[in-house]
Amino acid sequence: MSSQLANLRDEQRDVLQELMNVAMGQGADRLARLTETFVTLSVPRIHPLDVTDASLLEQLAIASQPAIITRQSFLGRLRGEVMVCFGENGADQLAGLMGYEGEEQDSIQDELMLDVTNILTGACINGLAQQVELKVSYGPPALLSRGRQLQDVLGSQEFRGHQALVLEIHFEVATHSFYCDLLVCITEDAVATVVEVIDQLLSDI
């Protein structure tokens, strides 16, 4: 694979990882305020991948597990899709976390997952965009898939032409067994912008 993301030097990757770390800290804060809990944030790890390369996707723990996957697009010089992968029982866990029970819990699940997608996407991409001084706008969040594996979803035609910053970031509310993982896909032509910004930051410090 010859993508720019795959060929990042260690110091470029470190900068990108730290930019995402700051952005995801904001995401955890917003999720914590929504759920009135303390959210444990994992160390973010970034793997630049071609999302249509199945052998590379196999490196991801989340790729082969059935999941509920939501998506939200972002537009501007930084352009692409964020996908949030909830565990198979993620919808139940999230509704329980928010205090819903019984029939009410079933009817509210999709709405809650889309709310969380919107919160995490906004925090993640805004956090990144602010640090690199780019403006982005957003499409509405939507349910992408239920019960399919991530690698099957990403292998579909509509994601060809995207590269991925796979954020192996784990938001966890241990007391409620809730977790989700984030996947950020950016378009091929936005990659050059990201690399340019990273190099600028490196020269500034």
């Binding site: 110091e11 470190d14 730290e18 804060d29 914590a32 303390f38 944030l41 973010p44």
Partner: protein, 119 residues
Amino acid sequence: MKILIVDDSAMSRKLVMKALPEDLEAVVTQAANGEEALAAYHAGHAEVIFLDLTMPVMDGFRTLELLKGEDANAVVIVISADIQPQAQQRVRDLGAAAFVKKPITPEAMQAALHEIGLI
């Protein structure tokens, strides 16, 4: 002043160094996780510790707990992207002298050092 900067990101460690006041006479040691930080502390390389929270091997919460358990007077300033109020309260409860959110700026560094009476 012996300063220990603990962060798994090399860029973050550079930003902390860059944010230190220019007129501060400091000898800086760096560590990439809590275990390295404790080793550097035991080796006498730290009078003031700048500590990240989200790190591999040993996170900042555990590192802070161990440091303060060994030396209640250890001066630790937490610098983190984890800005949840509960995280900030937890590090205060564990004995951190100050909390600064990432990315650190010279102004925030100045305020933190002033808050704990180091400048």
